[in-house]
Amino acid sequence: MRLLTRVRDWLDERIHWADLIAPLKKKTVPAHGLSYWYFLGGITLFLFGIQVCTGILLLLYYRPGANEAFESVQYVMTRVQFGWLVRSIHSWAANLMILTAFAHMFSVIFFRAYRKPRELTWLSGMVLLFLALGFGFSGYLLPWNTLAFFATKVGTEITGQVPGIGHHLMVFLRGGEEVTGATLTRFFGFHVAVLPGLTTLFILIHLALVQYFGMSVPPGVEEHWKASPGEARQMKFFPNFFLRELMAWYIALGVLGALAAILPWELGTKADPFAPAPAGIRPEWYFMFMFQTLKKTPAKIAFLDGEVVGILLFGVAGLVWTLLPFFDQAGKGRGRKLFMGAAIFALVYIVAMTVYGCMAK
């Protein structure tokens, strides 16, 4: 302990440690009945940390390449001690991370936390969500199994349908006209270099903005606090909120460990580019609502290709969703109701289509 104090004093003399952590000491979090929703972003960050650690571990044995990828993952899962666990945790944490990111996003929508001045926080968050989806899409292919091979074929084919730039985009993603070992090399590069770099940058921006503006208070609570200022409560970030967040992380770790150990992630069979697609080809569940919609879209809508219409609609919807803060007319009753209605519709649509897609054979 005395050594610890001396190290702290030494640091303090040089970098004025006390000044650095002063803002942390002063930082507070609004305390109200809905404070629990504040944990979601932190849990997503925690799961990202798990992904970085387990991802680095997998890199010790993984070999990209159409002739080696499947075998190397198989090797990790059967020969390397606890390899099955590391891979299973990586797969499960990826899925849980997407889930908590979506939940975080919808909590921000329903509590209108994106409103002025936090539009940039929302935008950086949306970028992070798209990056997470990119992680999911690229990582899905890496074991080079049949399911992933055909899902990637379909996914990149859909990209190819985008009018104008579609074909070029598809060739860029695939590293050629077809999904081959070249695609695997690219996806590996995206997954372990490009996306982690961008994600780290945007996480820093996102967190800096959250620190700068502080936590948003839900409008209902805010009104109530304005009416009776005596009831406004704040919780110290350190240690009060921090320890609660740690508990949430610990629970997340428990859930993750249990899922990974009880339901280890499967590997499937090695991809064969010249074999017919087996029944039950599906994307990861978080792309399911789009996949299912496109599946149900008629081949022709008026004189247009149904697939293209569907893709364009999703593109527009994604763009509108990203720019939501700018459409939300603060203080206008009818606009607000319409807005919330649209958000609820989006949530119900995504959930319903995901469930429908997962149930459908």
């Binding site: 571990l57 010790l60 090797y75 020969r79 390397v80 001690q81 606890f82 390899g83 666990l85 590391v86 610990y250 770790l253």
Partner: protein, 153 residues
């Protein structure tokens, strides 16, 4: 009296809570670190070469010729002396594990990395190598040259 009792009990309760929480945290950390440490140890590579391999066919080597062959997971040096006798040695230099070669100009085994020199029996004769190269047995079975590890005793 009661307050005194409370003062007695309080630290024990606190210590119990601290022990339970600290113990739980410690166990959690260990249960995360242990699999990771085990994961880091590479699984042993099966030595499929066994103790014996066919290194060459009769006639592959001329007198004063040599060849590096794979013996298990490591390279071995098969050479034919000027007198037409086969010799087989480990090709891993005993100094810093470079792969050695036969110098037919010197009639010696030479390691290019640090100028180590061995004679044709594998004895280290000059340069930094601290030990002789392991010598293997050579048999000729019909037209195959077979090298094998020397058995103890």
């Amino acid at each position: 009296m009661e307050s005194k009792e409370a003062a007695m009990i309080q630290p024990t309760r606190r210590r119990l809570v601290q022990m339970v929480l600290g113990g739980g945290l410690f166990t959690s950390i260990i249960s995360a670190i242990y699999p990771v440490l085990r994961y880091l140890i590479p699984p042993p590579v099966a030595d499929l070469g066994g103790d014996e391999i066919v290194a060459a066919k009769v006639g592959d080597l001329k007198p004063n010729g040599s060849k590096i062959v794979r013996f298990g997971t490591r390279p071995a040096l098969l050479l034919m002396t000027g007198e037409g006798e086969y010799r087989a040695l480990s090709a891993v230099c005993t100094h810093l594990s470079c792969t050695v070669q036969y110098r037919n100009d010197l009639h010696q085994v030479w390691c290019a990395c640090h100028n180590g020199m061995y004679d044709l029996n594998g004895r280290n004769i000059s340069g930094p190598p601290p030990r002789p190269l392991e010598a293997y047995q050579v048999h000729v079975r019909s037209d195959e040259i077979v090298i094998s590890r020397k058995r103890e005793g």
